[in-house]
Amino acid sequence: MSAQAGTRLRRLEPAAISGVMSREAANFRTYWKGTTFSSILEPIVYLIAFGLGLSATLVDEVNGVPYVQFVGTGMVATAVIFSSALPAMFGTFVKHRFQNTYDAILAAPVDVEELVSAEMLWIGARASVYGCVPLLVTIGFGLNPAWGMLLVPIFALFTALGFAGFGITMAAIVAKIDQFNYVTALFVTPLFLVSGAFFPIDELPEGFQILAQLNPLHQLVELVRGGAFGYDPVDLLRFAGLVAFAFVMWRIAVNRMEARLID
């Protein structure tokens, strides 16, 4: 008798989602040291180069915040996008096209919606942890801990979910792995540069400022700074925007992956 006889199979089953995530966890155990090392070292290097270097020569503070703390809180957003969008793009592409991993998973009682949801949740959870590292490092550079910072992992999670969905969607669309260069140049780099992580966006031309409001990374940067220096009522709206971003990207990713994986 099959082990699962009598089990009713529904949509978005926790068992299917946790099963796919357990595969990611098993793989992660083989490479976590390198990823963790770089995620800690990178913000330290950035803070030394941008924060200490620039604040010693060009910028002392921004809106009353020491520049090293301004950059440190902003770098949560860069850590989140680089540990969600890029792994989602490359990881999904490699697992689908080169490793045939998804063929194996979809031969089990798992559907595409569960597969994509699990991949997004795994990437989102991982990126929300790594996204907090720059904040912790910045505390080492003089940022005062604040209770509001406890919400940062949640903000990072929803942003990372959205960008994981974006990355999976791109992986479903591109024909060749080289085409990720276009995605990075056209979307990832501009989003990260006009997020307000390194300079305040109110110095930008008005058109860019409007575009920046549509940038989920900018909303994350503002929320992280809210956590560090005090929230505004508008931050609720920002958070709602991030939740909506994650939801919309989830549905698009499921739709595109169904088109890609099911003949």
């Binding site: 089990t7 357990s22 155990r29």
Partner: protein
């Protein structure tokens, strides 16, 4: 109840019709070999059965579940062994198995992993990464992974493709054990010997449909008679022998450097040269006659 029922299944990819009105019924407890040349539609049929491809038309039912709507429930009761190795190579043998035990909702994951390790004869290497295993071990692991949940039906997609003969024989023993224990098996292959050894019945597929189906012995008797004469020689001589045999209505097929006169027991005077090698008719003769493809 049949384990698999396909009625008029059609699957097109643009202008190509991969499965063309396929009717296929697999009763419970048998091993059916799906034999066909590359491009015959075997792999597409396998993907239709797992819900990874959706038929353009036709009715499909697996273990009583209608496809594609109920494909997930059907997959919960079947095991799939793919043609391509899709193990996680950096992960340990036991973790590879444990992941799939969870995906198949097995209650006691540890016990299922131990059983699978025994089946694959890899208990001593459970903590090694898959990329440290030989090709044969990896194939055994793939087979064991597909059986984690004691499925009622197992789909084997070219289970021994690319393996050396010794490892192939090992896997045949494992598959034969499953058949003996009553598991329904649908096995696609283009290896004639594999189908002959393992399958209770063979369905020959070509151009997306089944063109003949019976036990291997019945197929041979119906399409190839009892004997085949293989004739060797220079091309001019083979052309001459072929013309005489075909003149008597005997089917002739290429057989590597030779030609094979199928059903040679029916040959009249002069059709079979004295130096011809006479052997028993085989499933390979049937396959080549029906599909026009070279056998492997």
């Amino acid at each position: 109840m049949a384990a698999i029922e396909l009625r008029g299944a059609v699957k097109r990819f643009g202008p190509i019709t991969a499965v063309d009105g396929l009717d296929l019924e697999v009763p419970e407890g048998i091993c059916l070999g799906l034999l066909g040349p590359n491009g015959a539609g075997k792999s597409t049929t396998m993907r239709l059965l797992t819900g990874q491809a959706i038929a353009d038309s036709g009715e499909l039912r697996v273990l009583g579940h209608e496809l594609p709507g109920d494909a997930k429930a059907a997959r919960a009761e079947m095991g799939v062994v793919p043609q391509l190795d899709n193990l996680d190579v950096d992960v340990t043998v036991e973790d590879n198995l444990a992941v799939y035990a969870r995906l198949y909702r097995v209650k006691d994951v540890g016990a299922a992993v131990d059983r699978a390790l025994d089946l694959a004869r890899l208990r001593g290497r459970r903590r090694e990464a898959v990329d440290k295993l030989s090709g044969g071990m990896r194939r055994r692991l793939l087979l064991a992974r597909g059986l984690m949940h004691n499925p009622k039906l197992i789909l084997l997609d070219e289970p021994t493709v690319g393996l050396d003969p010794q490892i192939r024989t090992e896997l045949w023993t494992l598959i034969d054990d499953l058949r003996t224990h009553g598991t329904t098996i649908l096995m696609s292959t283009h290896y004639i010997e594999e189908a002959e050894r393992l399958a209770d019945e063979v369905a020959v597929m070509d151009k997306g449909r089944v063109i003949a189906r019976a036990t291997p012995a019945e197929l041979i008797a119906a399409h190839a008679g009892t004997h085949t004469a293989e004739v060797y020689g220079p091309p001019e001589r083979l052309t001459e022998v072929r013309a005489i045999a075909e003149g008597q209505g005997l089917p002739v097929r290429p057989a590597g450097p030779a030609i094979a006169i199928v059903g040679s027991e029916r040959a009249g005077n002069g059709a079979v040269p004295e130096d011809a090698v006479i052997r028993a008719a085989s499933l390979e003769d049937v396959f080549v006659l029906l599909t026009g493809a070279e056998a492997e």
